[in-house]
């Protein structure tokens, strides 16, 4: 039974940063990931990372932009911490070896990004997430004596002690199918978001909401689960992401008539308004018949000098070429809003603590909340690093303080039984896991997307519950132990359905329009009733709703225009 003071589940940016921070505190650390760490989805963050580091910029300005971007649903104490600590984190990464873009003087250079009042986005071409993550992985290799890596281990459940504290994780070694109960004094869930609940999505196939579901199942509170970001520029059908950096470099959005339609929606910030605003504008153009017949509008990057495109937007030149057959330096590319980011997640405080002692969370899995109703571009990498580090530090402090509780073997036995039961299902006894996933994604993308209303969300919820029933008899083909991905898919489906149910419940509950939640039946923001978080906790009949206050420090809610 492997034992560590701090166990991190997930090895993207938040997980790796947490593990390194905890190790620096001198405790023993294990990091568990269902994929090799460098395969994690933080790779996909193209555009950059925000910090008010330039002379003349200020953390207050960054914080205000973030809060305004969140449609005032973010907790301002958390935002303040994130924005204050951002510059130091960027410098730390630079010192570790991240190859950030330089200006002519050889100092860190920035680019403009959506919803920001200053150019404060630091970047490595358009592979920022990848570049940072690979550098953190270099550090994990360097510190391998202090951080044990469990690469390709799939976590199925959290282990609790008799006091209701989290003290370990049940994990399956994908390589041989063996199940292990890992003991730990602190467990940090950093498993990314749940984009696979929608189809299409910009998210990788691994983004199945594992951490959110595991925490929910042991009674942790979730928050802001209705807040799902649709990114304004994704490729139709496949859902691939075109970085906001393209608009940051000056690209235009055009409807089928060739009009720069953002003039009508955000006359000041134009294409660089916040993502919810731009996505709604696009969807309105498309819905009102001014888009292209394939349900898209166009992103015109040809207005950006070619040299600059090759230097700074290399990745999307490739995406255009390989996945759309378009040379973006010569012609506009068709795009539409697509599922992209989970603003909500496991409710945590500013040190990553959930309301279950011993259980922490950071990154997209968590909801601190710094993103509220809408996340600004280039704030997600920052969130993962700041709160990854803070949770690593606090988890280490707890580990020094408490004794290791002995988790009972019951969790391990019940997980093994669950897997045996899935394997034992007769072929043809129900539907395939893949069919249920497709139905789920389609329903969610139709009804719980850019524009929502009660009937649609209710329909989606009913579909989700129907699929939950069906999932109980969904069968798999692979009965083996070695690299049985089939069985993992069935477990992930369970995670996804829990995530979907929570999102539907929260979206039904919030009877107003704020950030990414736009209710056509309640089109106005309603601060009097709804300037509050919706919290969810597992009950006997699904998620139970409660509310918590939004923390306001110095920025009173105002009308939001761009």
């Amino acid at each position: 039974m492997p034992t560590h003071d701090v166990l991190v589940i997930g090895a993207g940016l938040a997980g790796q940063r947490a593990a390194l921070a905890a190790a620096e505190e001198g405790v023993s650390v294990g990091i568990v990931s269902k994929v090799h760490p460098v395969r994690s989805h933080s790779n996909a963050a193209q555009g950059g990372i925000n910090a008010a580091l330039n002379p003349g910029d200020s953390w207050e300005s960054h914080a205000f932009d973030t809060i305004k971007g969140s449609d005032y649903l973010s907790d301002q104490d958390a935002v303040e911490i994130m924005c204050r600590e951002a510059p130091e984190e960027i410098l730390h990464l630079e010192h570790l070896g991240v190859t950030f873009h330089r200006n002519e003087e050889g100092k860190l250079g920035t680019r403009a990004f959506g919803g920001a009042s200053a150019a404060r986005t630091y970047y490595v071409a358009d592979i920022t997430g990848q570049a940072i993550m690979h550098v953190l992985y270099e550090q994990l290799m360097k510190h391998s004596e202090r951080v044990a890596r469990y690469e390709e281990w799939f976590s199925t459940a959290l282990a609790m002690d008799e006091n209701g504290e989290c003290c370990g994780v049940v994990t399956r070694n994908i390589a041989d199918g063996s199940m292990e109960l890992f003991e730990a004094k602190s467990v940090i869930l950093a498993c990314g978001g749940n984009g696979q609940v929608w189809k299409p999505t910009t998210n990788a196939l691994i983004c199945t909401g594992d951490g959110i579901a595991m925490a929910y199942r042991v009674g942790a509170k979730l928050m802001d689960m209705e807040m799902i970001q649709y990114h304004p520029t994704t490729l139709a059908g496949k859902g691939f992401l075109i970085t906001e950096g393209a608009r940051g470099e000056g690209a235009h959005l055009l409807n089928a008539k060739g009009e720069r339609f953002m003039e009508r929606y955000a006359p000041n910030k134009m294409e660089l308004a916040s993502r919810d605003v731009v996505s709604r504008a696009e969807q309105t153009e498309i819905d009102e018949g001014r888009g292209f017949p394939d349900g898209t509008v166009a992103l015109d990057i040809t207005v950006v000098p070619r040299k600059r495109v090759h230097e700074a937007l290399r990745e999307i030149v490739l995406v255009g070429q390989d996945f759309a057959g378009v040379d973006i330096t010569r012609e506009p590319i068709r795009i539409k809003p697509g599922n992209h980011y989970t603003m909500g997640g496991i409710k945590t405080d500013v040190d990553g603590r959930t309301d279950i002692p011993g259980l922490y969370s950071a990154g997209e899995t968590a909801c601190v909340s710094v993103h509220g109703g809408n996340r600004l571009g280039a704030n997600s990498l920052l969130d993962t690093l700041i709160f990854g580090r803070r949770s690593g530090v606090d988890a280490a402090a707890r580990a020094k303080r408490v004794d290791q509780a002995r988790p009972s073997k019951a969790a391990l036995e019940s997980e093994q039984a669950n897997i045996d039961a899935i394997s034992a299902r007769e072929k043809g006894s129900g539907r395939r896991v893949s069919e249920i996933k497709l139905d789920l994604g389609t329903a969610m993308d139709k009804h719980v997307a850019v524009f929502r209303d009660e009937a649609g969300i209710q329909g989606a919820l009913e579909k989700v519950r129907e699929l939950k029933e069906e999932a109980k008899s969904a069968y798999i083909d692979d009965r083996g132990s070695i690299f049985n991905q089939d069985i993992l898919g069935a477990i992930e489906l369970g995670y996804m359905l829990d995530n979907a149910e929570c999102t539907c419940i929260a979206a039904l509950e919030r009877k107003e329009s704020r950030g990414a939640q736009y209710r056509t039946d309640f089109p106005e923001r309603n601060d009097e009733e709804w300037l509050r978080h919706i919290d969810l906790q597992q009950g006997d009949d699904g998620p139970e709703v409660s509310y918590s206050e939004v923390t306001i420090t110095q920025w009173e809610p105002q009308e939001r225009t761009y």
Binding site: H41, A44, L91, F100, R102, Q130, A175, L318
Partner: protein
């Protein structure tokens, strides 16, 4: 929509059976990927068909595989194009020019765990760790950022673009001959530090990589890794940069690699062709001086190379008699040697690095017919 047949190399380790081929019929748009085809087969026909994959967009590096014998990413290879290649390959071999199967296999130079899943840890990652893959700055970091030449960051961003997919390793011919070769991915990773002005152990790194018998001089310059790399990292170019830097540092490696490179380059410069019989001598005992006063190492090296030379004769690489007489190399036809020399001179004068992040530097004039449509 179009129909395709994927012929997949399968291996189910728990079955007790050897690897076998299985064909799957899939139906999808030609612009979708080979990975999409494999996933369709897995979703519809057989959930035990195993392949690592995640992003579907060529950024996570999970789905390295061989498609029609070529190493690359399943998600980055359009199935329509894979079909065209399969048909082209078949028609060259006098087979049918359409309706051929698309052949999908696990990556090479790595043990196979199951179906398309290979053991990257024991090969790829072990080699990556071999090159001390983290920044080694000296002293305390500055209060702000390290101030460096902007170009230096763009330069190493090319090797930072590596997603560790292993396609280059899979394609590497040198590694096939010498499994201990550090290899294209790890050496590209090494350049990422050697080229980084913040790293303080450049010399140590270069000494280490030059003197390792499986290091930078083990590459045979075959370009396979450049073809295989889905991200334009051009690992071989990074290896050549390491060699150049080692040369600049005047690292006289125990492998005689530097001398061999110099001998080769000089020969091309002067003769416009390789003279196999001279190459060995010039590598170990360059010029008249080297031959009048050969060092102990030279004699040892030359004697040690005799088996290679004999194998060369046996296998026909040095068949004709003139090729065996040093310095008497047959002239290539039609002034080809002069052309090679001219190319050499041009390259020497216009020495530039091909870097994907700088490529846009010179605006290419669009073709006349293109202009009209723009």
């Amino acid at each position: 929509m179009a129909e395709y047949t994927l012929r997949v190399r399968r291996y189910q380790p728990e079955s007790g059976e050897a690897a076998y081929w299985e064909e799957f019929q899939v139906e999808l748009d030609p612009s979708l990927s080979v990975l999409d085809g494999i996933l369709q087969a897995r979703d519809r026909d057989d959930g035990s068909l195993s392949v690592r994959c995640s992003c579907r967009a060529a950024i996570c590096g999970s789905c390295g595989m061989k498609i029609n014998g070529e190493s690359g990413l399943g998600c980055k290879t359009q199935i329509g194009e894979a079909q065209e290649l399969a048909d082209k390959q078949a028609s060259v071999g006098e087979g049918s020019s359409e309706g051929n199967t698309i052949v999908v296999e696990p990556m090479g130079n790595m043990p196979v765990i199951k179906d398309l899943i290979t053991d990257m840890e024991s090969t790829h990652w072990t080699k990556i760790r071999r090159v001390t893959p983290w920044l080694l700055p000296h002293g305390e970091p500055p209060e702000r950022e390290y101030v460096v030449e902007p170009e230096s960051m763009i330069d190493i961003t090319q090797s930072m673009a590596c997603i560790q997919c292993g396609a280059c390793v899979s394609s590497c011919l040198s590694m096939e001959a010498d499994p201990d070769f550090i290899g294209p991915a790890a050496l590209a990773k090494a350049y990422r530090f050697v080229g980084d002005p913040r790293d303080a152990e450049t010399k140590e790194r270069l000494h280490d990589l030059a003197n390792d018998p499986h290091g930078i001089y083990d590459c045979t310059h075959c370009f396979s890794c450049i073809d295989a790399c889905p991200k334009g990292v051009a690992p071989m170019d990074q290896i050549m940069r390491l060699r150049r830097r080692a040369g600049e540092e005047e690292i006289h490696d125990v492998n005689n690699g530097e001398n061999h490179v110099n001998a080769f380059v000089k020969m091309i410069e002067k003769k416009g062709t390789n003279d196999e019989a001279l190459l060995l001598q010039e590598s170990y005992a360059p010029g008249i001086k080297g031959k009048l006063k050969p060092t102990k190492g030279a004699i040892k090296g030359l004697l040690g190379s005799l088996p290679v030379a004999i194998r060369g004769i046996k296998t026909g690489k040095m068949r004709s008699l003139p090729k065996l007489i040093p310095g008497v190399h047959p002239k290539l036809p039609d002034g080809a040697q002069d052309e090679v020399k001219a190319i050499y001179a041009h390259a020497e004068e216009h020495r530039e690095q091909f870097n994907i992040y700088i490529k846009g530097e010179e605006e290419v004039e669009p073709e006349p017919d293109e202009k009209e449509t723009v």
